[in-house]
């Protein structure tokens, strides 16, 4: 400070001006936020207030009479800024400035200064009023703001991995960053102002996708999308795009911020991963297929092994009776027929030959079954007879071991349509197994019962029983519950598998039960009543050439029975009265008369009696149809009695049986 002028009683000294001036001076002095002071014409400081002390750090005594250039930094002083400001204020009346000023302690503050020229009545300059505000804080805030905006802009523009740019509300590009340039290939001057649909493929543009995305962004605030986008050079990249609507404080749409990432690489990685996964999947599948193939190879090998074993068994089983036959036959010439050994020899040969023929039959059955050539010849048979025939067939073998048969056959087992020879074979198989496995003096039980839909026949023994582990396999071919080197029981191990095929061909089932070794076994076969009709169509025209007169007074049942007989090829004359029937029989001499016997207007008994009295009466077969079985003494008059409603296949079977031979 070159010099400090003493405070004078200049008229401009506010504190010297009247009572109003006094108050005003107090007010000024009290203001803390503004430095308010007066300068003389040359810039000498004439007054000072509290705000000036606070802002500048000088006391009143420090500055009074001093020059206001005191507050300027060296650069400003060198540029003669204080003088120029006074000149400007003198010239223009007022000058405002913002700039750095210096406090007493040498620190700087950002000041807003207004210097106002004070003139007297004739307009000559008397001095200046200077008001200084400390804007350092505001400036710092501004600066921060400016810097942060700048930094942000710098940040955005320098981001290289993301294209970040603004669109105006119509979708034209307003800003561009280096990421956008790198990803999309356009320099800012090439692209700013163009519509952002430039980045979309033709088909996307045609479908209106860019517009759609803007609409969505406007409605939802933002929209995200992944898809192909187009670079400047026309190449495509897989983009993740987020478009965000940008609104100002008043809520006006200012445009859209668009952030685009090139995730082609990620997509490639994903695709590679997917391809690897697919590959792994394919490998697993191939592995699985290989395992399956191996399993089926093993199964085939196992089947092959079983077949080899079977052939070995077959060879063994055929050689054994052959050895007996050939050996004994060679010995025969040296014997005389009266010898006991001669009889033994013949018996041994016969038994061995029978065994061999059975083995061969089994093999033929299996080959028929395997080649699907098994044919059934169905006929209606009495189930009881069928069972007893089978029992009789094994009785001599059983007697030799003193085995007793007990039979429990329900009364009224009735007839069943089956291939009788095959079902007898099934029963014989069960029975001979039972006899084979039952010790001497044992018992074999046979039972049969009929349900409305099927018959069930069971053969039980209390012999060796079956190992529970082996039980599921008893009906498998080539299996016997023994190792081949210690054969307890001869045979091929085919019997039960043949049995199962035969029963299943009849639509039936076969099961084996055993409580275990030594606890006996039960084999059960079930057969549907019309086993074969279900298994396949009955052979047509079994009654071809058979002349039948059908007598019945109920037109409906007569019509149905007639249809069945005609379908079987019979020559049929249906009639509704006994009188008409007797007349027609006289004229046509049919093979068979089928008649109702208990119709309301028809007496079948009387018809039968009248017919039997004629000289040809016994040549005609008479089949009675009745809702209830006829009385025992009446039954003898008929060749067959069938219950109504008539089972057509049973009727056909019955007539076919009674006329076989007579019509040939």
């Amino acid at each position: 400070m070159s010099h400090i002028m003493p405070v004078t009683s200049e008229p401009f000294d506010s504190r010297r001006r009247g009572s109003g001036g006094e108050e005003f001076a107090l007010l000024i002095d009290a203001v803390q936020d503004y430095a308010i002071f007066l300068l003389g014409r040359e810039g000498d400081i004439r007054s000072w207030n509290r705000g000036a002390s606070r802002i500048m750090g000088y006391g009143e005594e420090d500055v009074r009479g001093g020059h206001f250039s005191l507050f300027y930094g060296p650069g400003d002083l060198e540029a003669r800024k204080p003088q120029r400001e006074l000149e400007a204020a003198a010239r223009d009346g007022r000058v405002e400035d913002e700039g750095w000023r210096v406090r007493k302690d040498g620190t700087r503050f950002w000041a807003n200064t207004i210097i106002t020229a004070l003139r007297d009545g004739d307009g000559s300059i008397q001095g200046f009023a200077k008001v200084t505000r400390d804007l350092t804080q505001r400036r710092e805030a501004d600066e921060q703001l400016r810097q942060s905006a700048e930094i942000f802009q710098l940040l955005v523009s320098s981001v290289r991995d993301y294209a970040i740019f603004m669109l105006d509300p119509e979708g034209r590009i307003a800003t561009w960053n280096s990421g956008a340039q790198r990803i999309k290939g356009y320099a800012p001057e090439e692209i700013i102002g163009r519509h952002f649909s430039t980045f979309y493929s033709e088909e996307d543009v045609r479908s209106g996708k860019p517009e759609r995305e803007l609409v969505l962004a406007r409605e939802q605030g933002s929209v995200e999308d992944e898809g192909w986008r187009v670079r400047k050079d026309g190449s495509r990249f897989w983009a993740n795009v987020v478009i965000t609507a940008v609104h100002d404080r008043r809520g006006e749409l200012r445009g859209f911020a668009k952030v685009t990432r090139d995730i082609s690489e990620r997509k490639r990685v994903e695709e590679t991963e997917r391809a690897l996964l697919d590959q792994r999947e394919a490998r697993l599948q191939a592995e699985e297929e290989r395992r399956r193939a191996e399993a089926s190879y093993r199964a085939a090998r196992e089947a092959n092994r079983a077949k080899d074993e079977f052939l070995m068994t077959l060879s063994h089983e055929l050689r054994t009776p052959m050895t007996a036959i050939l050996g004994w036959a060679r010995m025969l010439p040296a014997m005389s027929p009266g010898d006991a050994t001669f009889r033994d020899a013949v018996k041994a040969i016969a038994a061995a030959a029978q065994l061999q023929s059975r083995l061969i039959n089994d093999i033929l059955d299996v080959s028929q079954i395997v080649s699907g050539k098994l044919r059934l010849s169905p006929e209606a048979v009495e189930l009881g007879d069928l069972i007893m025939n089978a029992v009789d067939a094994v009785r001599s073998t059983a007697d030799a071991k003193q085995i007793t048969f007990t039979t429990a056959l329900e009364p009224g087992l009735g007839t069943i349509v089956v291939d009788a020879i095959r079902i007898q074979q099934v029963l014989w198989n069960f029975l001979s197994n039972a006899v084979k496995f039952t010790p001497r003096n044992g018992i074999v039980r046979v039972s049969a019962r009929r349900t409305p839909s099927q018959v069930e026949i069971a053969v039980s023994d209390d012999g060796e029983g079956i190992d529970p582990q082996f039980l599921p396999n008893v009906f498998e071919p080539f299996r016997q519950a023994e190792v081949p080197q210690t054969r307890v029981h001869g045979g091929l191990g085919l019997g039960l598998s043949i049995v199962r095929h035969l029963v299943e061909a009849h639509g039936g089932t076969v099961t084996a039960q055993s409580a275990g070794r030594g606890k006996g076994a039960t084999f059960t076969v079930t057969l549907p009543l019309r086993a074969v009709a279900d298994a396949g169509p009955l052979p047509a025209e079994r009654l071809r050439g058979v002349d039948i007169i059908l007598v019945g007074d109920d037109p409906e049942s007569r019509r149905m029975t007639a249809a069945a007989l005609r379908a079987a090829g019979a020559n049929l004359l249906p009639l509704d009265s006994a009188a008409a029937a007797l007349d027609a029989i006289e004229r046509y001499r049919p093979h068979v008369v089928v008649t109702d016997i208990a119709g309301p207007e028809l007496d079948g008994y009387a018809l039968t009696r009248a017919l039997r009295q004629r000289e040809y009466g016994s040549d005609i077969r008479i089949v009675a149809l009745s809702p209830s079985p006829p009385a025992r003494e009446e039954r003898g008059a008929f060749d067959a009695c069938l219950s109504k409603p008539v089972d057509p296949s049973q009727l056909v079977d019955e007539i076919a049986r009674m006329t076989s031979g007579s019509t040939a």
């Binding site: 070995m312 063994h316 054994t320 007996a324 050996g327």
Partner: protein, 126 residues
Amino acid sequence: MDERHVLVVEDDEAIRGLVELIASRHGYTSSLVTDGGEAIAALAGETTYDAVILDLMMPNVSGYDVIRYIKENSLPVPVIVVTAAIKGLDWTRIDKSVVKAVLTKPFEIEALTGALTAVCGAPHSR
């Protein structure tokens, strides 16, 4: 009487009888058993046999077990195997020091008598 004595081990009755008849026609006495267990019991007993005519596939105890018994007990009796299972034979269990002949069923009567002669010497004429 110095008759040769053979043990016939065979589960099939007809063949057992046949072998007995052939053997007796050629001067051998036969003991007949139906499986390997009975054969071992017979071999363990007092009687000594000049030969064993042995089937292989039999119930309970097989012919192989009989061969092993003879081998393990160093019995001096020669064995003639008569088997129908020629394809499935386990030759590792047919010890050559015990088994002197293997005949296949059906066998020629001369093959059996020849084998008997070979292992027991010429039969005594009747």
